[in-house]
C-alpha cells in the first residue's frame, strides 16, 4: 500500500523524495547481506550525512536542517522501512547530539557541524548493566581533578559502541541521587576508553551494541554539558525525542513488512486465486495496514505537539508504545502471510520480526512507557486546545 503523507513545505516533499531515492539505491540493496554478516555499515552514515539527513531537526545556525519533527520523523520512517538498523542508528546519532545542541555553550557547539554532517558518529551512554529502566541507580563516576574529569565505570547497551567517534555519557559527580548525575561528551580516542565484544543479538545485527568500559578516562572539564547535576535532566529531555524517533523507526519497519506481505499475497496463488483474495488473509493484511497507519498518526500527533512547543512527553510514550507494539504484531503477521517461506531466512520478514522485538524493549521498555502514561493520568489536568498557524 503506497504511503500517503502530508508535509508542510515543498522542500520537505523534495527531502522525502531524496530519502526514498537513497533508501532504494543505497540502503535496501545492502540490508539483508549486512544484517546476515552482522556488519555495521559505517559508510552509510557518511552518505546520509553528506545528503544532510543526520541533522534535520537541529537549527540551521548549528549546522542542522531546521526541519520540524513532523518532517524529520517521516524521513526517519522512510530510512527504517529500507533498513531498520540504519534507522535506529540515525535516531541514536541524533540523540547523541541533543544535549550539545540544547545545553552546549557556543564554544562547545562548534563541534556540532561535523557531528550533524555525519563525519563524526555519535553514541549515547546512559544504561548500566544493573541500571536500565532506573538510570538514577547508575554507578559510573566522574571525579573532578583540576581542569579535568576522570571517568570510571561501565555503560551497557551502547548503540555504535566501538564504532562511534564520540560518546555522550551520563556519570555520577555526587551521591545526590538523580541530582548527582552530569553529562559529558567523551572523544572515542580517549585513553582508558574501550568497547567490550559486541553483544550477540537476536536482531538489528547490522547495528553494533556493546558495553563501553571507562577505566580512568580523563577528559577536559569543558567537555561537560550543562552544569554538574543536570545530567539526568539532559538525558531524560532527550529521551522524549528519542522515543519519537523509535516510534517512527518502528512504523517504517512495519510498513516495510506490510509492503512485502502485500506483494507476496498478490503473487502467491492457492485454490486458483491470489491469497490476498482469500478473506482470511485479506483481513489479516487489512489489520496490518490499520496498525501501520495508526502508528504513523500517533507519532505524528506527538511530533506536532513538540513542533508547536507544547508538552509532548506523554504522547511520545504513547507513540513509542503503540508504534512498537504494532510493529511487533505487523511483522509477526507478515511471517504468517508468507507461511513456511516467511519462516525461512530466504525472505526478509523473519528478520523484520526479530528486529521489531527489541523496539518494545529499548528507549524505555513498553512497561516504562505505560508507567509514564499512567502517572500522567494520575496527575490529572484539564483539556487543552492549541491553535497551530
Amino acid at each position: 500500500m503506497p504511503v500517503r503523507r502530508l508535509v508542510p513545505t515543498q522542500e520537505a516533499a523534495d527531502l522525502l523524495d531524496l530519502t526514498r531515492q537513497l533508501a532504494r539505491d543505497e540502503l535496501a540493496p545492502r540490508a539483508a547481506v549486512a544484517e546476515a554478516a552482522e556488519e555495521f555499515p559505517r559508510d552509510v552514515f557518511r552518505t546520509l550525512g553528506r545528503a544532510g539527513l543526520l541533522g534535520l531537526p537541529y537549527a540551521e545556525e548549528l549546522g542542522g536542517g531546521g526541519q520540524p519533527y513532523e518532517v524529520y520523523l517521516q524521513v526517519l520512517e522512510e530510512i527504517a522501512a529500507a533498513w531498520a538498523s540504519v534507522g535506529v542508528g540515525v535516531s541514536v546519532h541524533g540523540l547523541s547530539c541533543f544535549g550539545l545542541a540544547t545545553r552546549g555553550t557556543p564554544e562547545q557547539q562548534q563541534w556540532l557541524p561535523e557531528m550533524l554532517g555525519g563525519e563524526l558518529l555519535g553514541a549515547y551512554c546512559l544504561s548500566e548493566p544493573h541500571a536500565g529502566s532506573d538510570p538514577a541507580a547508575m554507578r559510573t563516576r566522574a571525579v573532578r581533578d583540576g581542569d579535568s574529569y576522570v571517568l570510571t565505570g561501565e555503560k551497557a547497551w551502547t548503540t555504535h559502541g566501538g564504532h562511534a567517534d564520540f560518546y555522550k555519557v551520563m556519570a555520577r559527580t555526587s551521591d545526590d541521587g538523580p541530582r548527582g548525575i552530569s553529562c559529558f561528551l567523551v572523544p572515542a580516542d580517549s585513553d582508558g576508553l574501550s568497547a567490550d565484544t559486541a553483544e550477540r543479538k537476536m536482531g538489528l545485527t547490522g547495528s553494533t551494541t556493546a558495553t563501553m568500559r571507562f577505566e580512568g578516562v580523563r577528559i577536559d572539564a569543558d567537555r561537560r554539558l550543562g552544569e554538574e547535576g543536570e545530567g539526568l535532566s539532559i538525558a531524560l529531555a532527550g529521551l522524549d525525542a528519542g522515543r519519537l524517533g523509535i516510534a517512527a523507526v518502528a512504523t517504517g519497519l512495519a510498513q516495510g513488512a506490510l509492503d512485502d506481505a502485500v506483494a507476496y499475497a498478490q503473487e502467491r496463488e492457492t485454490f486458483g486465486k491470489p491469497i490476498i483474495e482469500h478473506q482470511g488473509l485479506g483481513f489479516l493484511l487489512a489489520d496490518m495496514a490499520a496498525a501501520v497507519e495508526t502508528a504513523r498518526a500517533t507519532y505524528l500527533f506527538a511530533a506536532r505537539l513538540r513542533d508547536a512547543g507544547q508538552p509532548y512527553g506523554q504522547q511520545a510514550s504513547i507513540a513509542k508504545l503503540v508504534a512498537t507494539d504494532n510493529a511487533m504484531k505487523v511483522t509477526t503477521d507478515a511471517v504468517q502471510v508468507l507461511g513456511g517461506y516467511g519462516y525461512t531466512r530466504d525472505f526478509p520478514v523473519e528478520r523484520y520480526m526479530r528486529e521489531a522485538k527489541v523496539m518494545q524493549i529499548f528507549e524505555g521498555t513498553n512497561q516504562i512507557q505505560r508507567l509514564v502514561i499512567s502517572r500522567a493520568l494520575a496527575r490529572g489536568g484539564t483539556p487543552t486546545t492549541t491553535v497551530v498557524p
Binding site: D14, L15, L18, G65
Partner: protein, 259 residues
C-alpha cells in the same frame, strides 16, 4: 564555461506508462513523472566540468507546468539556474518541432557547451543532438562515455557496441551522454534548500518568436497512429530434464535465434 543541460521530464520507466487514447500522446498527467534518467548523467557531467573550469550551469526544459519538478531536481543537484519553456500549443510536438523550440531557447542563452542525455526513456527517438546541431550550426558529439574539455576543444569517447571512437570538435558543441560516463550525485538537503532561491525563467512560444501553428500535434511530422497493449504472457515452455536437459535448452534457444 557556460553550460546548458537539456532536461526532460518523463513518466517513470519503473512504473506503469500509458498513452492517452484521445490523441495517442504520452499520458503525462496521470503518470509518475520523473527526470529522464539519462539526463541526470548529463547534469553530473556539466557540474563536473563547471567544478573544474568554473562557469555556470543552466537547465533548459520544454514541458508542461509539472516539469518544474524535474527542474527543481536539477537545481538541487547543483545547477545554477533554469529556463522552462511551457506553452499548451507544444503538446504533441514531434522531435523536429521540439528541436525548433529548444534551438530558439538556446539562441537566447550564452553557451559554450550543450549537454543532454543520449535518449529519453519515453520517446527514445535519440535524434535531438543531431537536430540541434543542424539548426544551430554547431558540432554534435553524440553517445559519450567520457568527455574531456581541452582549451576550446571538446573530446569524447563515443560508446559503440564493439568499443569506442575518439571524436573531437571545437566549442561550442552539443554532447550527449550515456549512463557509463559518470555516477550522478545525489542532491543534498542543502541543495534542496538552495534550489528554492535559484532563478527559473518561464518562456512561452511567443517569447521565443515561434508561431504556435508550426508546432503541436496538428502539424507534427510524426505521430502515433495506433497502439495496442502488450500481448499477455504465454504459458512458456517447460523442459523436462531426462539427462538431455542442456541439449533441449540449447535447441530451444537456437530455434528462437537467441544463440
Amino acid at each position: 564555461m557556460n553550460i546548458v543541460v537539456l532536461v526532460k521530464q518523463v513518466p517513470d520507466s519503473g512504473s506503469e506508462r500509458k498513452l492517452d487514447p484521445s490523441d495517442n500522446t504520452v499520458a503525462r498527467a496521470t503518470a509518475d513523472n520523473v527526470i529522464n534518467e539519462m539526463d541526470e548523467y548529463a547534469i553530473e557531467e556539466a557540474l563536473t566540468v563547471k567544478e573544474a573550469q568554473g562557469g555556470e550551469v543552466t537547465v533548459l526544459t520544454v514541458g508542461p507546468d509539472t516539469a518544474t519538478d524535474a527542474i527543481r531536481k536539477a537545481l538541487s543537484m547543483g545547477a545554477d539556474k533554469a529556463v522552462h519553456v511551457s506553452d499548451p500549443a507544444i503538446h504533441g510536438s514531434c522531435a523536429v518541432q521540439t528541436s525548433a523550440v529548444i534551438a530558439a531557447a538556446l539562441s537566447q542563452l550564452e553557451y559554450d557547451l550543450v549537454l543532454c542525455g543520449a535518449e529519453s526513456t519515453d520517446g527514445q527517438v535519440s535524434v535531438m543532438p543531431a537536430l540541434l546541431s543542424e539548426r544551430l550550426g554547431i558540432p554534435q558529439l553524440s553517445g559519450a562515455r567520457k568527455l574531456t574539455i581541452e582549451g576550446s576543444m571538446a573530446k569524447i569517447e563515443r560508446q559503440t557496441d564493439g568499443g569506442y571512437w575518439e571524436v573531437e570538435a571545437p566549442l561550442p558543441a552539443i554532447v550527449s551522454t550515456w549512463d557509463t560516463i559518470n555516477e550522478p550525485r545525489y542532491p543534498s538537503f542543502k541543495g534542496i534548500m538552495a534550489a528554492k532561491k535559484k532563478p527559473v525563467e518561464t518562456k512561452t512560444l511567443a517569447d521565443l518568436g515561434i508561431d504556435a501553428s508550426t508546432v503541436g500535434l496538428a502539424t507534427a511530422t510524426s505521430k502515433v497512429v495506433d497502439f495496442a497493449g502488450r500481448p499477455p504472457k504465454g504459458e512458456g515452455v517447460k523442459v523436462a530434464d531426462e539427462g538431455d536437459g542442456a541439449d533441449k535448452l540449447v535447441g530451444y534457444l537456437a530455434a528462437q535465434k537467441i544463440v
